[in-house]
Amino acid sequence: MGLLDRSVRGSRSQRLVLSFALVAAAAGLTALGLFTAFAKASRPGHSGAKQRPRLSATPAHLSHVGPLAAGDRADRTVELHYRGRFVAVVLRTAVLHRSLLDSSPTGGLRLKIARCSARWRRVTGKRGYSCPGKASTVLPTVRVRGGRRLRLRHLSRRPGATDHLRLVLTLPAVAGNELQSQASRLAYRFTGVAR
């Protein structure tokens, strides 16, 4: 009886190992097959060890904005530096400290991002910036709220290049009294997707 039990258990165990082997082998072959297809699609002669692509943004800490009144606008500049080539850059917004500024659908903050082909220049006597080169819209005006995933357009994304961005935050003129004395802490996470 005891031997019979053991042989039955042994059979199950072997089946399990065999099933795992088959599944693993199939996954391996599938992956390798896909890799072959990918390798064919890649440019020839593109081999050798490469640096891992890296996207960095400066400054890490943008200056405080406020106190804002309805209709106010605040501009902050960010430099995006590329090491390696990226096919896309995505902005994820996170709200580290919540308030009505990031949750009010009508009166809450709006964000727009523009790019200048040269470094943004401060307008003398004002708090805004002007573009001494060619300006383009990287992100059209959107409502600021946490958890947004926004694809940025018209960026250079070239190795060694820098994109000069201007973040424009606006408190709509229709913002009511309930939006007074509010504070939100926002984080902008730029993610580059390498090719």
């Binding site: 088959l22 082998a25 599938t30 992956a31 890490a60 106190p67 606008r73 708090r127 802490r185």
Partner: protein, 201 residues
């Protein structure tokens, strides 16, 4: 010595080897296709300000006057404070009367209002209250009928953190006839501040 059935024989080892190789290939293959990404962050705090219009410490507007005759004037001082963090763009005054009488409905011979500003606090005497200015005086509201809506106030400082020292003068014109005798009106004053225009911060 017992042979454990969980220990594989030659066949078992082969199967296990295939499993390991397969798993390794799978992991290697999938790893090849993982998309490289690089992330970087910036953050900051964004705060909205406050607009606050308060009165005091001087506020004599709550003090009435009785038995006034044609040609009489009443002066009352009030301090307007811009206590918020946002500058005020404009201030309006709305006056209303309840209960009302011909004193406030007769726009010709009824009560009239004028508002002046002193660059420093008014010096008070009385009662009956009268005020002199040790600095410079400017006209905030020119003489007009007492009751009105959204009267624009001129020559105010409006800067956040500052105070405007105002003197409200209510007068019954000399032309007031007998029909205005023995009447009474209670007048309320509402100052409303509107924020400055939006700007770049």
């Amino acid at each position: 010595m017992r042979r454990s059935l969980s220990t594989p024989g030659v066949t078992g080892k082969l199967i296990a080897s295939i499993a390991v190789l397969g798993a390794a290939a799978a992991i290697g293959g999938l790893g090849t296709f993982a998309t490289f990404t690089s992330s970087t962050s910036s953050s900051h705090t964004i705060a909205s300000g406050t607009l606050s219009l308060t009165s005091g410490p001087t506020n004599r507007l709550g003090i009435g006057a009785s038995a006034i005759a044609a040609g009489d004037t009443m002066q009352r001082a009030i301090d307007l404070n811009y206590a918020g963090s946002i500058d005020v763009g404009s201030v309006t005054l709305t006056t209303s009367a309840s209960p009302s009488s011909a004193l406030d409905t007769d726009t010709t011979d009824g009560l009239h209002l004028a508002v002046d500003r002193c660059s420093v606090a008014w010096t008070e005497s009385g009662p009956p209250y009268a005020y002199t200015c040790g600095g410079s005086i400017s006209t905030v509201v020119s003489a007009r009928p007492l009751v009105g809506s959204n009267m624009a106030l001129s020559n105010l400082t409006l800067t956040a953190g500052s105070t405007d020292h105002l003197r409200v003068t209510v007068s019954l014109p000399s032309s007031a006839g007998n029909t205005l005798q023995n009447l009474s009106s209670t007048v309320g004053y509402t100052f409303t501040g509107v924020q400055r225009a939006g700007t770049s911060r």
